[in-house]
C-alpha cells in the first residue's frame, strides 16, 4: 500500500507540539530551570495524568537532574522544561537549582562547598 509516509511514532516538532499543547518554552519562575536542576516528586503520580507528566513524577521519586530526565525520556530540554513547569505549578514536584557559583554578594563559591567537592573528588 502506498501513500504519504507518516511516522508510526510521531516524532519531532509534531510530537513536541502535542506534548506541550503548542507551548514553545516555559515562562514564569521555572524559566530558570537548569540542566543540572534536580527534580523531586512530592508523591505518586495522580490518576489521569498526561503520560509524560506521569513518567516524570515516577522517575523523580529519587532526585534526578533535568538533563538525565531529558536523556531518559528522549525529550529536548526546552520541551521537558515546559512539562516540568506544569508539574511545578501543580505542586507535583519540587525543583532544586544547582548551588550557584557565586553568592548574592558577588563573591566566589562558598569555601566550605569547595572543600566538600574537593574531598569527594579525592576519594575517587
Amino acid at each position: 500500500m502506498s501513500g504519504p509516509k507518516r511516522p508510526a511514532d510521531p516524532s519531532g516538532l509534531e510530537r513536541y507540539y502535542v506534548l506541550t499543547g503548542g507551548r514553545s518554552g516555559p515562562a514564569g519562575p521555572a524559566a530558570g530551570l537548569d540542566v543540572a536542576t534536580l527534580i523531586v516528586s512530592r508523591g505518586a503520580p495522580a490518576p489521569g495524568m498526561q503520560h509524560e507528566h506521569e513518567e516524570i513524577v515516577r522517575r523523580c521519586r529519587d532526585p534526578l537532574s533535568v538533563a538525565e530526565l531529558g536523556a531518559h525520556l528522549g525529550l529536548p530540554f526546552n520541551i521537558l522544561a515546559v512539562l516540568v513547569t506544569d508539574l511545578l505549578a501543580a505542586g507535583r514536584v519540587d525543583a532544586r537549582d544547582p548551588i550557584p557559583a557565586s553568592s548574592v554578594s558577588g563573591r566566589g563559591p562558598d569555601l566550605a562547598l569547595l572543600e566538600e567537592v574537593l574531598s569527594g573528588l579525592e576519594r575517587l
Binding site: G12, L13, Y16, S24, G25, G32, D34, V35, A36, T37, L38, V40, D62, P63, L64, S65, V66, A67, E68, G70, A71, H72, P76, F77, N78, I79, R96, D97, P98, I99, P100, A101, R107, G108, P109, D110, L111, L113, L114, E115, E116, V117, L118, S119, G120, L121, E122, L124
Partner: protein, 206 residues
C-alpha cells in the same frame, strides 16, 4: 552473588538513584572539536554518560538566517554529561559543551551557575580551543586548561603553551590524559583548588 545497594546502607536501594536530600553543582568541560571533552566526561562519570538535546526552532529565526539554515528548520545540539557522587548530599554534574561553539548561546544559562570549567586543549591543534577560552573569559567563567596528551603529541613546555594560548599566569595549565580516570579527576581537583584560591582572594577583611 553481589547485591548492589544492600551492602552500602548509606546508598539508596535503587542502583544509581541519588540520595533524597541531594543538591547539585555543575562543572563544564569545554574545548574545541575533538579535544577529548566526551572522553573526559566518560572517564570520570559514575553513570554511563548520557546525552541531552536542545532543539532550535523558529524562535531563533534570526540566528537561523545567520548560520545559513532555512527558517523553521529543526536543529538539534547535543550535550554529553555525566555525574560524580561527591557525598550523600552533593552530586557533581559534568557537561561537555557542544563542539560547535556557535551553538553555545542556545544553552540558556549553560555556563551560568557552573562552579567553573575545564578547557581541554589538543597541543597539536592549539587554535581549536581559542574560541572556548575566549568564551570563558567573556562569560567570566573561572577555568583551568587541561592539555590533553594524545599518543603523537609532542611535549610542549607549559610556558610556551601559555604564551600561545595567551592565558594569564594565574590560570592553571595541567597536562592530562582524558582517557584516564585519575588523570581527569586531577584536572577537576586543580579546578577546585583554583576556585578556592580565587574565592580566598576576593574575601574582604571585615
Amino acid at each position: 552473588m553481589v547485591l548492589k545497594g544492600f551492602d552500602r546502607p548509606d546508598q539508596p536501594a535503587i542502583p544509581g538513584a541519588l540520595p533524597a536530600e541531594s543538591r547539585s553543582v555543575k562543572v563544564m568541560i569545554a574545548g574545541g572539536f575533538g579535544t577529548g571533552k566526551t572522553t573526559m566526561v566518560r572517564s570520570v562519570s559514575d553513570i554511563r554518560p548520557l546525552t541531552t538535546e536542545e532543539t532550535l526552532t523558529q524562535a531563533s529565526a534570526d540566528v537561523d538566517h545567520l548560520i545559513g539554515i532555512a527558517d523553521k528548520q529543526e536543529t538539534t545540539v547535543s550535550l554529553d554529561f555525566g555525574r560524580i557522587g561527591i557525598n550523600d548530599q552533593l552530586v557533581l554534574y559534568l557537561f561537555g559543551t557542544p563542539g560547535q561553539e556557535r551553538f553555545w548561546f542556545l544553552w540558556n544559562g549553560l555556563f551560568k551557575g557552573a562552579l567553573g570549567a575545564v578547557v581541554l586543549v589538543d597541543t597539536r591543534r592549539l587554535a581549536s580551543s581559542f574560541r572556548a577560552i575566549e568564551e570563558m573569559e567573556r562569560q567570566n567563567v573561572p577555568f583551568v586548561i587541561g592539555l590533553n596528551v594524545f599518543p603523537d603529541s609532542k611535549e610542549h613546555p607549559i610556558d610556551e603553551v601559555r604564551d600561545a594560548l595567551d592565558v594569564p599566569q594565574h590560570t592553571p595549565i595541567i597536562t592530562c590524559d582524558a582517557r584516564d580516570r585519575k588523570s581527569s579527576r586531577d584536572v577537576l581537583i586543580a579546578l577546585i583548588h583554583h576556585l578556592k584560591d580565587r574565592s580566598a582572594a576576593t574575601l574582604e577583611p571585615r
